[in-house]
Amino acid sequence: MYRAHVLICAGTGCTSSGSAQVREALKKELEAKGLTDEVKVVMTGCFGLCALGPIMIVYPEGSFYARVTADEIPEIVEEHLLKGRPVERLIYNDPVAGSTEPAKSLNDTAFYRSQRRVALRNCGVIDPENIDEYIARRGYEALYRCLCEKTPQEVIDTVLASGLRGRGGAGFPTGRKWQFATAPAPKKYVVCNADEGDPGAFMDRSVLEGDPHAVIEAMAIAGYAIGADEGYIYVRAEYPIAVKRLGIAIKQAREYGLLGKDIFGTGFNFDIQLRLGAGAFVCGEETALLTSIEGNRGEPRPRPPFPAVKGLFGKPTVINNVETYANVAQIILNGPEWFASMGTEKSKGTKVFALGGKINHTGLVEIPMGTPLRTIIEEIGGGIPNGKKFKAAQTGGPSGGCIPASLIDTPVDYDNLIAIGSMMGSGGLIVMDEDNCMVDIAKFFLEFTVSESCGKCAPCRIGTRRMLDILTRITEGKGEEGDIEKLIELGNEIKATALCGLGQTAPNPVLSTIRYFRDEYEAHIKEKRCPAGACKALAKITIDPEKCKGCSLCSTKCPVGAISGEVRKPFVIDQSKCIKCGVCLATCRFGAISKK
């Protein structure tokens, strides 16, 4: 038995900040000190606080070392692991809790305190490449309970009663989706949508990397519920760690007979295959994803028929998102009432959000539905860096919309977000401060959807391109009267007529920024001014007449002759000639010239 465990994150975030080197250094040092029989080194999935990676936790104390480097390992081994003195200097000091003391353990930090981990319960706790550790945390017990103690209909009823809704975006009730697929058919499929594509969202990746068996177990449960014997996980090739761990997990589950023929001796057969996607955003749309698994170009098709009726290879198919599956075993084990006791009236359970943008704690958080946005940003997220002011948060990525500062107390759930013109989406949450221009943000997301549009239907292929043209014009100072109205009309038209979810939601970022920040659009169009100072083309260089001594130096340096005036009187810049090169700014000795 080991007396201490050292957990090191091996998720994508910490791996890219060097956790593998830290792990190697630690193993070497433990060997040198003769501690290998006492101290176990475990690589785990994501802890969530990716901004502070590489993250290392030492149990039993739960000491939380952040931004660990290989150089610090000898000291940590000597002091903490050998002599029992946690190296306080290197332990994460939670600035938000206002404490000057190092956090004693993970759960003392403001980041973790308000979280409720269901889908992420094993992430950062177990070794994802060891099925026994998953089983130790009641893994595969839910599958056993379903196969041996429940009828398929009872399984569906349990999921229905829990109120679980799809975590991939639209929030369709999972139990109802399963129910649709119960009509007798000779062949059915269960598919996992792991084609996470929203810029800024990485919760599915973290679940796959940190707890792959949770997804596998839930897919087998879904297979039993609808009578399917084959499953596919469609995961993007850009997630190499997730792909590798899924492969290991499937192999281990097969070796134990938890996948394959006659599972738990019940005669139920179920097996899973991996399919790697090439990373097209549209393949996250379910019909395009199924088309891609079939070996065709990933393009959507009209619904109905829905996949539950006519899905993969034309057979009834249940397709759910990774995070949705990650909740299923917990619902079976703890009961639907337990799950339904969390969240709001129509949005039960928890939701994982990927915090990004202008926020101190970039990372993954899981919170009960209905948690106010303010708690997420100010408490868990640690607020905005550099004392800047919160301006808005974008939820739902390129399909969603923004929540302005005036609505920061909105409890976050499916219906509230829809009501204020945004959407849950997969849970990306990008925070913006006063330096972000909302027109520029809308343009950024639209650029993404324009380049990811598959081109099959005209509203999306041509319509979003026209919207982007208008936005580009506006940010370049060439906006015209009526542009806003044109954007709204085009946006509504595209939403109503596009073939699939990609096109139907693409105008959302534009429409929602117009709704809450119309004044910024107007400033760009009418005054040729970017209030946030983010749009380069609209930056304006001006001379303060109070400070200008009329020395004429700037006008002699200006390469385009845009500055004129009479000596010893304030000079002026002709904005129509100015190319914003900034030479005058560097020339002025009186600080009279500024750029805004």
């Binding site: 176990k40 039993p60 050998l82 002599k83 029992g84 026994d132 130790a136 134990y256 007979g257 001796g265």
Partner: protein, 111 residues
């Protein structure tokens, strides 16, 4: 790993065998046995005591109830020193502990 899992008992036996491997990560047990590991403690044989305590917890299958910890802050006369800290009870201090005392200390902590 070639053994197939067919029954709930198969699952439970894996769970039981893994119990002591992950319970450390699920938070402190109600009782902690803390070994003083200052330089004086290590000199006087605290590491051997620590090992004996861990073995005792393992042997008795008490990892859910007793957490063995080390601390650099437990100092004083009579090293090796072991403290038994229980929720809602006063800390009990044992001095001049030897590996032979380990089983009795763990049993006291688990009471």
């Amino acid at each position: 790993m070639a053994v197939k899992i067919k029954t709930i008992e198969d699952l439970e036996s894996i769970r039981a065998s893994m119990r002591d491997k992950i319970c450390l990560r699920e938070g402190f047990a109600d009782a902690c046995v803390v070994v003083g590991m200052g330089t004086a403690g290590i000199d006087a044989g605290a590491r051997e005591v620590l090992h004996a305590l861990v073995d005792a917890v393992d042997k008795k299958g008490l990892c859910d109830r007793v957490t063995v910890m080390q601390s650099g802050a437990v100092t004083g006369e009579g090293a090796p020193i072991v403290e038994i800290r229980k929720k809602g009870a006063d800390t009990v201090v044992k001095t001049n502990v030897t590996p032979a005392d380990a089983e009795a200390i763990v049993a006291e902590a688990a009471e």
